[in-house]
C-alpha cells in the first residue's frame, strides 16, 4: 500500500464534515444515544419519586447494567445508521465517481471513512455513557454504588460493542453500495439472528463464532445478568479477541476489495 493509499488527515476531516453537517443524522444519533439514556433515567427516577416502595432509585449497579445494555443495543442501531452513511453516502449522493477521478486511491477513500465515522459517533456514545455513569452513582439511593473499575469496564464494553458494529456497518454498506440494505442487514444480524443462534444450544461452539455472543462474554461480571442477552456462553479473552478480529478484518478487507474493483 503506497502512502497515497493511506487516508490523509484532511480526507478524514472531509468525511467527518459530511457526517457532522447532516442534521437529521446528528439528531437520530443523539436521540438513540444521549436522548435514550436521558429519557430512561428520567422515567426511572420519576417512578421512584412517585412511588418509592414499588420502584427503586434510577442508579446503582443493576441499573448501570440495564442502561449499559440499552446503550449497546441502541448504540448499535446508531452505528448501523452512521456506518451505512459513511460507507455508502458518497455513492448514494452520486459523488463517488467525482472523488475517484481526482486520482486519489480508492483504498484511501475507503479507509478514511472508518476513523471519520468513529470520530462522529463516539462522542454521542461516550456522552450517553457518562450520563448513565453519573446517574448510577448519584441516583443510587440505598442500592449498591458501582465502583470506578466497574464503571470503566462497563464503559469500555459499551464503546467496543458500538465501535465493532460501526466497523461492520461501514463494510456492509461499502460491500452492498446501499445504505438502506446495510442498515437492515446489520440490525437483523445483531438484534435478531445473534440472539436466535445464541439460544440454540445444539450449535455448541459454533455459537461462539457470532460477534454478538463474543461481545456478551465481555460484559463485566460485576454487572451480573443486568446487561446480558440470552444464555451465558463462557469464552476465553483470546477466543473473543480472535472472533472479533477475524470478523473485523474480513469484513473491512472484503468490502475494501469490492470498493476498489467495482465500477465507480
Amino acid at each position: 500500500m503506497t502512502a497515497f493509499a493511506l487516508p490523509a488527515p484532511r480526507l478524514v476531516a472531509a468525511d467527518v464534515l459530511k457526517l457532522r453537517r447532516n442534521r437529521s443524522l446528528a439528531l437520530v444519533t443523539g436521540v438513540l444515544t444521549v436522548g435514550a439514556v436521558a429519557i430512561t433515567v428520567a422515567v426511572m427516577e420519576l417512578l421512584h419519586l412517585a412511588n418509592a416502595t414499588k420502584h427503586g432509585p434510577a442508579g446503582g449497579v443493576q441499573n448501570l447494567g440495564h442502561v449499559a445494555f440499552l446503550i449497546a443495543m441502541l448504540g448499535t442501531a446508531a452505528a448501523a445508521i452512521v456506518g451505512s452513511r459513511a460507507g455508502a453516502g458518497d455513492k448514494d449522493a452520486g459523488v463517488y465517481r467525482d472523488l475517484v477521478v481526482t486520482g486519489r486511491s480508492r483504498v484511501s477513500l475507503y479507509l478514511s471513512r472508518i476513523p471519520a465515522g468513529i470520530a462522529f459517533l463516539l462522542p454521542f456514545v461516550a456522552g450517553a455513557y457518562v450520563l448513565e455513569a453519573v446517574s448510577a452513582v448519584v441516583l443510587a439511593g440505598s442500592k449498591p454504588v458501582p465502583d470506578m473499575r466497574l464503571l470503566v469496564l462497563t464503559g469500555l464494553w459499551t464503546v467496543l460493542e458500538v465501535t465493532f458494529f460501526y466497523l461492520l456497518s461501514v463494510a456492509v454498506a461499502a460491500l452492498l453500495g446501499s445504505r438502506s440494505y446495510a442498515i437492515g442487514v446489520v440490525l437483523a444480524f445483531r438484534l435478531a439472528i445473534t440472539p436466535i443462534v445464541a439460544s440454540i444450544s445444539a450449535l455448541g461452539i459454533v455459537r461462539e463464532l457470532m460477534p454478538g455472543v463474543a461481545m456478551q462474554s465481555l460484559v463485566p461480571p460485576g454487572l451480573g445478568d443486568a446487561a446480558r442477552q440470552g444464555p451465558a456462553i463462557a469464552m476465553s479473552t483470546a477466543a473473543v479477541a480472535a472472533v472479533l478480529l477475524v470478523w473485523a478484518v474480513a469484513a473491512v478487507a472484503l468490502a475494501g476489495w469490492r470498493d476498489v474493483t467495482r465500477d465507480a
Binding site: 497515497f4 490523509a8 484532511r10 480526507l11 476531516a13 472531509a14 464534515l17 459530511k18 453537517r21 447532516n22 442534521r23 453516502g89 449522493a93 452520486g94 459523488v95 465517481r97 467525482d98 472523488l99 475517484v100 477521478v101 481526482t102 486520482g103 486519489r104 486511491s105 477513500l109 465500477d263 465507480a264
Partner: protein, 311 residues
Amino acid sequence: MQTTPISPYVVETEGLTKRFGARTVVRGVDLQVPRGSAFGYLGPNGAGKTTLIRMLLGLTPASAGRMKLLGLSVPQQRAAALARVGAIVEEPRFHGHLTGRENLRVVAAARGPEAAGRIDGALEQVGLTARSDDRVKTYSLGMRQRLGIARCLLADPELLILDEPMNGLDPAGIQEFRAFVRSFVADGRTIVLSSHLLDEIEKTCDHVAIVDGGTIVAQGSIDELRGDGHVVFVEVDDTHRARGVLAAHAAVERVIDDGEVLVVPVLDVLAVPDLNRRLVEAGIGVRRLELQQASLEQRFLEITTRLENAA
C-alpha cells in the same frame, strides 16, 4: 516530482474496447485529441461516449486496448495523469446537505493540499461566490453545472473532460459556457466535450470525432470534416420531377427530400447555374435555389447515412 511527458496529444487511445457481456459498447476506438484544442466527441445517445470517458478516467476498466492521458499510460499512471485532469461525468452530483463551498472542500481534500487554496478563485470564476455558503440542494441545475466546473478547476487542469455539459443550461448559460471554453483553450489548455448536439459542438469546438455504434467514423478539425463541400437548397413546384432532373446531373452527389425542400450536396459549385437551367428547361417552376457551405450537421448525416447504406 514527476514531469508530464510532452506529447502533441492529451488523449490517445488505441483499439479501446469495452464489452458488457456479449454487448460491445465501445469498439476499437483510436482517438487522438490535440493539445490546446476544444475537442467535441459527437454522437447520438447510446453511441458509447460516456463509457469511453469512464474508461479514460478509470471509473470502469477497458476490455481491450491502450490509452494515455497527458502522455501518461492509464490505468498504470492513473494518479499522476488525473492530478491535472478535471472531469464531469454525466450530470454533476453533490452532497445536497453541504454548501457549495463545503462540497469543494471535500473534493479538495481528495486532491493535493494546494487544491484547497483554489476554492475561492474557482467559485469566483464560475460566478457562484455569492451563493457558495448556501446548501447545494437549493441550487438550480445550471448552478450545479457551474459548481461542477468549479470542482474541476480545483485541479488547475491541463485537460477538462465534460460529458454533455450543455444539459440544463439556459441560452445565457450556454453563451457563458462557450466563453469559458474559449478562454480555457486560449490558455493553452485542452477541453473535451461529449455531446449529441451537433450545433453546439460546431459552435464551441475546433476539433471533433464523430462516433456511432461505439466506433469513431470520422475525426479531425471541424473545417476538415466539413470539407469544401457545398449544398444547394432547392424549392420547386414539382419535387418528384425535380429529383429526377437533379439526380441525373454529374455534379450532384445525391438528392435528399427534406419535405418542402430538396437538399442537394454538389461536387462543384460552378454547376449550380446549370442545375437551375435544367430545371427551368424541364418546365419546373423554381422558387428557391440557394448555395451554402456544408455544415457539420449535413456532413454528419451524410456519414451516418452512408454507414446505414453500407450496412
